[in-house]
Amino acid sequence: MKRRTFLAGATAWGLGLVSRPGRTADDLGYSAPPRFTRPETSGEEGGLWALMDREERNLRRSPLIVRDGDLQSYVQDIACRLGSDHCPDIRVTLVRTPLFNASMAPNGMMQVWTGLLLRVENEAQLAAVLGHEIGHYLQKHSVERLRDIKSKSAIGQVFGLFGLAGAVGQLAVAASAYAYGRQHETEADRIGAQLMHRAGYQVGEAAKIWSNLLAESQAAEGKGANGSLLFATHPAPPERRAMLEDIARSLPDGVTGEEAFGRHVQRYLDEWLNDEIKRGQYAESLVLTTRHIARKFALETMHYHRGEIYRLRGRDGDLDLALGDYRNAIENDKPYPLALRGIGLIQRQRGQRKEAIEMLSRYLELAPAAPDALFIQSYIAELNS
């Protein structure tokens, strides 16, 4: 396919005019296997599928599932474009957990955690992670991993602790989610990049994910540094990032899908950022929110939450930084109520009675049913007295 034809296809896809672009000829030549048929239950792989089916049933009942048809369909659709012929077998579930992670089981169950959705900047970056996981799926890495884990004596301890059923379940999850070897990771990276390219995405975005995660990791202090499971189990040395950049040079062009991604996740940002802040990894969260502010994404939301991080960290100078962020979040005609609260709480601590009363009162006017309404009223009464 000529580049112009490809670009036209990618653009049309980006505009939602076509559901699935054709493959380009100028990629790395990966040929996906045909769709998998369910293996015999009596066999090793069939047993793993059956176990993952059970895990999937459990997962679908979980209150941690993000039950938003629109967002789920959006991510499912991206996975489908990447999976191409395998689309009917891929089932995406969004899970509310504030860590950067995605995984795909051999039966087609894919989990995407909200910490990942909070961190990627566009569809292309999301597609890079999903494509990587689909790469593991297409090459049946988890089945290989299962065989490897089974051969290790340590697994006997797991059986001893959880009992047989629990151990097998844990084993299946481990096989699908954890610790692929370096060769598998590299292979999944290359396949993921090609799937991205064929779906019309900018492959260069894949390397940016690792740059962003590295920036968070480098900012983290002491223990507790970087809770990203994907980062922990998919080591991302600089050469890996370099490899993705190399691939991107040979697979140019494509779209990022930034606007569409932002539109779909916008309404969840408060919830996901609240979960993120509760991790208590303030240095990492500051890098994350600062990055989004720099790219002018959801500015008021990001300013408010960065202000919260500074206020809760409470180091020398942090309250001033928090005030600055809160004030940025109330600049426009529709002030962010929680930012008014933040200013009020800080000014109360500082003895700035007049502004504290004004801001806390405005907060209650805008959010009369807030969980802390009674408490804030007591603060206002105290300040007035």
Binding site: P63, K223, L312, Q349, P371, D372, L374
Partner: protein
Amino acid sequence: MRGLLLAVLALSVFGCASVKKVESGTNRLGERFTISIEGAWNQLDFPGVKPAQVWTMEGVTVDEFLIFNGIRDGEVMNSKSGNGKQQDFVFRKSMPTEEIVSLFEGVLSRDNAVFKLIKIEPYPFGGKKGFRFEYERIRKTDNVQLRGVGFGAVDGGDLFALLYHAPRLTFFPRHQARVEAIAATAVIR
């Protein structure tokens, strides 16, 4: 709490955890903190459980009554459970109430549980000016939806608090009144 639950299970198997019956009546929890209970509770003791005392009515995998008895400035609020890589949450005596509640949110989300604050209000606790808060929590280990209530006050720079949570549909309603009554008997000297 996932680590805590697994630790309790594992330690129970290997005999490192002990369970002690706490009888009805006035219980002196430390030099400065006293509560009165009606009906017996079970107190769990195992390595790493501090700084909170952990009591349970139905079993630790079901409900937990956490007692924080005079947490000092600079003291870590969470247990030593987990993989050792998780963030510690440290109490500072200068913290206003809303930050103390945020601290509890962090402690109770340490296993990546989802925490939602339902309500926070002023509450005279232990004879001091304190606070009461209600919350919901989805435990990551087993996806159980919990409901909880907490009470606390800072006196002389030390934090005293009681937290109770249990599955929201049966166990929390069963024991909430009992816990509220205990909180009302608290005395901080």
